[in-house]
Symmetry: C2
Subunit: 415 residues, 2 copies
């Protein structure tokens, strides 16, 4: 069984919108044993849509198409479906009732004819009611290929994939299992890792594929496999993972599956009844925001001060003005004072502080652009690290957030 995804929308082709729908669908499909072989993004243009749908018949068993189902004139997917399947549109009463309900309860504006027309569906389609919006999901078959059309609004698409599309696929097909195991490493480049583990990599059986994913100072290592015997493939992946870990002990921080680094930090803090706080300068709240994204953060996250300017470091965080004048605002001395003071301010067990010149121009410090200090205060001590993360503001910030999370986790793992 092979699947592919087609996203329809000019906004993707002109770079106005990043296609996040495909990654979501691919992930959910992998969980049920369906591999995605191709993702295509095309324009809201009849000929492009028809050509792409036609080429999918030979390529895939299941084709998920998102986008172009809205009520406005620029959306032409439904008209095009009718041509492709040689079908006509008919009113679906359940969809119409759902639209009326949504308009009455949430939209609270007059129901227009274009909204009512959203209940028109191809007569041959199996319909999935969309409880979050007006465009229903449509399941149609041509030759031996199944086509599923879904609205492009991520919120609505996700709901339909999880609660309607996947249950129907599982009901109709017998699928294998796909397993990915991703290992998080920090602090070494991909070619150096490859050199260290080359014998291990050569020993991998054919049914396990292996990939390196480098990004902003960390490399993810991914093992993937597929098979009908879940127990067997799980054991196999675990066996080769257990042989890999000792080779990369120094750079290994954990696994990705459902366990982002922020989640690993959260687990460690929660299980040890520890709390943390942040003083963020150029990272502007990004570290806090990353940690708050973990459910239940209020039990370990005491709060943060975003102190972007030198003035707020002095006035709101009580960093000594003399210290700043003597060492500059981007310095070991200042970041350690920030970490200590924010820990006291929020009465937390741990704290982390950032200060740096993220560019594009130098701020209140003469340190080279890209210079970053990260300070960490623990119940026992305070210490800090200096980095240079280059001259791209976005990259300096991204790398600093990753490095901060890495430093916290490493510190927590010591206990």
């Amino acid at each position: 069984m092979t699947a592919e995804i087609i996203t329809i929308g000019d906004e993707i082709l002109i770079g106005q919108t990043i296609d996040t729908n495909s990654a979501f669908i691919a992930k959910e499909f992998n969980k049920i044993g369906l591999s995605i072989n191709r993702i295509s993004s095309i324009m809201d243009r009849e000929l492009d849509i028809l050509n792409t749908l036609n080429s999918s018949i030979d390529n895939s068993d299941i084709v998920i198409v998102t986008g172009g189902l809205g009520p406005t004139n620029d959306d032409i997917t439904k008209k095009t479906i009718v041509k492709f399947f040689d079908d006509t549109l008919v009113t679906n009463q359940v969809v119409l009732d759902n639209i009326k309900f949504i308009w009455k309860k949430y939209i609270k504006q007059p129901l227009l004819q274009v909204n009512i027309d959203q209940s028109l569906v191809p007569s041959k389609s199996h319909v999935f009611v969309n409880t979050k919006g007006s465009a229903p999901g449509l399941w149609l078959k041509k030759n031996n290929t199944i086509f599923v059309f879904l609205p492009g609004v991520p919120f609505e698409m996700k709901e339909l994939i999880k609660n309607s599309v996947i249950p129907k696929i599982l009901n109709e097909f017998n699928l294998p299992y796909i397993i990915h195991k991703t290992i998080l490493t920090y602090g070494m480049g991909e070619s150096s890792i490859a050199e260290i583990i080359k014998d291990w990599e050569k020993s991998l059986p054919n049914d396990i594929s292996f990939a390196y994913l480098p990004s902003l100072g960390r490399v993810k290592l991914r093992l993937s496999t597929k098979g009908n015997d879940l127990q067997k493939i799980t054991n196999n992946i675990n066996l080769y993972t257990s042989k890999l870990i000792p080779l990369i002990e120094d750079i290994f921080v954990g696994y990705e599956e459902g366990e982002s680094i922020e989640k690993l930090i959260a687990n460690k803090l929660t299980s040890n009844n520890l709390t943390i706080s942040f003083a963020e300068s150029f990272t502007g709240g990004k570290i806090s925001d990353t940690l708050v994204s973990v459910t239940g953060a209020s039990s370990f996250f005491k709060g943060s001060l975003v102190c972007y300017s030198t003035a707020s470091k002095v006035n709101n965080l009580n960093v000594d003005k003399d210290l700043i004048d003597k060492y500059s605002v981007v310095s070991k001395e200042v970041v350690e004072s920030m970490a200590l003071n924010v820990k006291k301010m929020f009465n937390s067990d741990y704290s982390l502080a950032t200060t740096g010149n993220a560019g594009p121009t130098k701020g209140d410090s003469n340190k080279e652009i890209g210079t970053v200090y990260i300070g960490l205060a623990t119940p026992e001590k305070v210490f800090s690290f200096e980095f240079n993360f280059g001259n791209s503001r976005e990259r300096v910030t991204g790398k600093s957030v990753n490095k901060s999370l890495e430093l916290i986790l490493k510190e927590l793992l010591k206990n």
Copy 2:
């Protein structure tokens, strides 16, 4: 002239990585008058790569391919290129010198054979040296189609697109102009907007296309056109835009081109010498982070307190404990007190505060999940709004950030 993008990498097809490269390339290409007709993501598999490259020969004049050029075994693009172009690999001395330089200056680890091998390039290719990494860009021609191969690391790809690929395209081809004008609206659904502007939409000439882009409580309206006479198409777009704005005056907040809402806020604050601060509860630093992303934020952004827990609202922001007990932590009274106190704390002219039940479970308040209060303090007064943004945590947070920015801008535009 038509172009397409192919991204190679299993990580995209299994949903582990979101393809952000394509949006960047599409945007840059639109700026020079090149439309993207198709974006495809495929696996690191020889047959898939060869088939997709073959199908591009008929479809496109320029094909940008990213990914699969790394030094490790999972990357097979270069081997496959050699087959596709019936070519051989030769050492490129300039690329080799560049790799040696990078290793000496930045990597500071031994240069391995796999790193040296990155200087092997197809003999027929025009080579773009990658100053940020080891994989060079490659420009090759088959029949009448140009193929450009670039590393998938966003940082390296962006540099090569801007400084090497686009200059060469501009040098070899005479391209038309593409203009997009995107209007930002807040507070009305797409079908209601369509109803209000339907006569205007009908009056649009064939060479202007129009699209609605709804997302998290705002709708973007986009006019697009293409032509050889820049002055003429610019005038045409401006003419129809000026006819549209009066029809949507109540919901219009500005234009998108280079002017995100945070930039509009930054401009307004800077030009009036005003400052702002935030007290963020469930938004966790996201509003601060959005504003800090604007260059020069230190001149108007005084700082933020991320006070996620009830305790930090009391201890760090001095919100009256009795107020919380009486009205609950998610209330008009508390959010207004937060706004007033954070304004005082940072001595800013304006401030904004958030508190809410973002879900998935109720926190320290019994208010329904999705309930959000946003408070705004100006030099003269304090006021707040209550919203319900549904039951998805991610969506509640996203909508709240958007709504907060909208409220700030609206308030600033009053002066």
